[in-house]
């Protein structure tokens, strides 16, 4: 792949990412489906000596409600203003969000306020009247993947593993998938812009892997908000994911890396659903393509136990990837509770190989 032109584009889109003292807000989707990812982010940030603060009173930003159109823009702006107020009250200036939908919404709202100052004033009035709170806008707004990207070399230095096949010595082939709302509306707010985002590529390259440049690399995973929330619409969602799998399969990816809450869930679950519906699997010998978040991958690089990271709640098993890298794991402990007691096991799918 000729990357000179892309490197020039990446140079144009290098955003400022704060180096410490973050006010952290969580993601609704990730807390439900990948609880270990957020836990892992806080773990390696603490090990890197960084201060990340969370106020338990922060809530949803209403992003999923906003993008499924039941929540008006005025409401979303005021909900976001409340999060900023909690940050202000705690004495922080650097706002970090775990969610891409939230990140896109915060970006959209800050942009709206810059073009329509009266909207900001009205939002301040709404917030004051409803909650008595006031806020200062963040000095720095970043997504947690931006922060992880910033410290990717520090993670390498502390790491135990590389994205390299232990038997062949070759780099593992990685599909990177960026959440749509990371930079599609505001390319300058994402590392690398919208067409050639570098935030995940930077991590993959730093940690020894090789990124696959496949035709449908920038296609949406198919969440589409209402297109998944309503059962009658889910054909839209699975069709979009299938389009991506079909496009990437001939490149034989070892894994898919994501930075969005919904994408890893859909790219994981739709592989299962496609296998049940059509008997198709996209990895070798009935295996799927393991899907993970950047925090889970950083955790693997750092040598954290795969079951502490939460891989047992992925539908597509990650064991084939762990075996390629040479990361040890105990299959007997996969589905145990915190005290080592059995909690039963999930049933095996009809076609997708399960461990």
């Amino acid at each position: 792949m000729k990357i000179e032109g892309k490197r020039r584009i990446w140079d144009d889109y290098q955003k400022e990412i704060a180096g410490d003292n973050y006010f952290y807000v969580r993601s609704c989707v990730r807390q439900n489906f990948f609880p270990g990812a957020e836990k892992t982010f806080l773990r390696y940030m603490a090990e890197l000596g960084k201060n990340v603060f969370e106020n338990p009173s922060h809530t949803t930003c209403t992003g999923i409600g906003y993008h499924s159109d039941i929540v008006p823009f005025k409401t979303a702006m005021t909900m976001v203003a409340r999060q900023f107020a909690l940050m202000t009250e705690a004495g922080y200036e650097n706002f970090v969000t775990s969610c891409i939908t939230s990140f896109g919404l915060y970006t959209e709202i800050l942009d709206t306020w810059s073009h329509f100052p009266e909207q900001e004033e009205q939002t301040r009035e709404h917030l004051k009247k409803a909650t008595g709170r006031e806020f200062v806008k963040p000095k720095n707004l970043a997504h947690a993947s931006d922060v992880t990207y910033k410290f990717r070399k520090d993670i390498t230095h502390r790491g135990k593993y590389r994205l390299v096949n232990k038997d062949t010595g070759l780099p593992l082939k990685v599909v990177e998938h960026i959440g749509c709302h990371y930079s599609r509306m505001f390319p300058s707010k994402g590392v690398g812009g919208a067409e050639y985002p570098y935030v995940l590529v930077g991590m993959v390259e730093e940690w020894g892997g090789e990124v696959i440049d496949y035709p449908e690399r920038r296609h949406c995973c198919g969440f589409g908000f209402r297109q998944y929330l309503i059962q009658a619409n889910r054909g839209y969602s699975i069709a979009a994911s299938k389009k991506k799998f079909e496009s990437m399969k001939s490149y034989k990816p070892d894994m898919i890396l994501t930075n969005c809450p919904g994408c890893p869930m859909f790219l994981d679950r739709w592989q299962y659903a496609i296998s049940e519906m059509e008997g198709i699997t996209y990895g070798d010998a009935g295996q799927g393509i393991p899907v993970m978040t950047y925090e889970e991958l950083a955790g693997l690089i750092l040598g954290y136990d795969p079951w502490d990271l939460g891989f047992q709640v992925h539908q597509v098993p990650v064991e084939p990837l762990l075996d390629k890298i040479g990361i040890p794991y105990d299959p007997e402990k996969k589905f145990l509770d915190i005290n080592g007691n059995a909690m039963g096991k999930p049933k095996s799918p009809s076609y997708l190989k399960f461990y």
Binding site: Q31, K39, R82, M185, I230, Y236
Partner: protein, 237 residues
């Protein structure tokens, strides 16, 4: 300028999203919804550019405006800086305001979203809550989710969550005071009003369709709008 177009122009997202479209079709070429549904963002902008009230009213009552997934791919690629995805958000808001959303199959689905995501925001402080993502309504989540759903507390504890408990952490119980603030914000900024309109227009429509609709999720109308496709919505038609 007609009344509906004027109302759309009151929405800053509409003002931001509509410039002069030259009908190049770039938005439609890259649109995930256009590939799956009978939908072309190019045509949407074309209709809006006419300022034709009858056409705009028909659009607001149609399935067309509910096909978009709001991925905003169109925003990145439009050479004229149009934003069909933003226009959709304004059209959907007005469709709900006017009660036109119940005139289309896809529009009627808004009640199911209001009674799930809308309710969960106010009840839990999250857009989603694992206790509500039932395997029955989500077979695509697979056997691992089915196992997790039936061992939620144990799995969440194993993965370091603070499930339903006070203090910071994953899936903590959002304090009552914070939930009260959400409700006040909803009352102050129009979300409560929108919820009430979705309910009122849907109840009227359910009666018109002869379907039972109570205040919960287990009734004929909700089941119908959540599961049914009674017409061909596909791109191939």
């Amino acid at each position: 300028m007609g009344a509906l177009f004027e109302k759309l122009c009151e929405d800053i997202r509409f003002v931001e999203g509509l410039k002069a479209c030259m009908n190049c079709g770039t938005c439609t070429a890259i649109c995930p919804a256009a590939e799956f549904y009978n939908y072309q963002p190019r045509m949407l902008v074309d209709i809006l550019q006419t300022h034709d009230e009858e056409k705009i009213e028909a659009l607001l009552k149609s399935d067309t405006i509910w096909y978009c997934g709001e991925c905003m791919s169109c925003v990145t690629r439009c050479p004229r800086n149009n934003a069909p995805g933003l226009l959709i958000t304004a059209l959907r808001s007005l469709s709900q305001e006017m009660g036109y959303f119940v005139e289309s199959e896809k529009g009627r689905q808004q009640l199911a979203i209001k009674r799930t995501v809308g309710h969960w925001i106010l009840e839990y402080g999250y857009c989603l809550h694992p206790s509500q993502i039932t395997p029955g309504n989500h077979p695509e989540q697979g056997p691992v989710w089915d196992w997790e759903f039936h061992h939620l507390e144990g799995v969440m504890e194993r993965l370091g969550a603070n499930y339903k408990k006070a203090g910071p952490g994953v899936l903590r119980a959002i304090p009552k005071a914070a939930l009260d603030e959400i409700k006040k914000i909803f009352d102050e900024t129009g979300a409560t009003d929108r919820f009430e309109k979705i309910e009122a227009f849907s109840k009227k429509k359910a009666a018109e369709m002869g379907m039972k609709l109570d205040d919960g999720l287990e009734n004929e109308y909700i089941t119908h709008i959540y599961k049914a496709n009674t017409k061909d919505h596909s791109a191939g038609q």
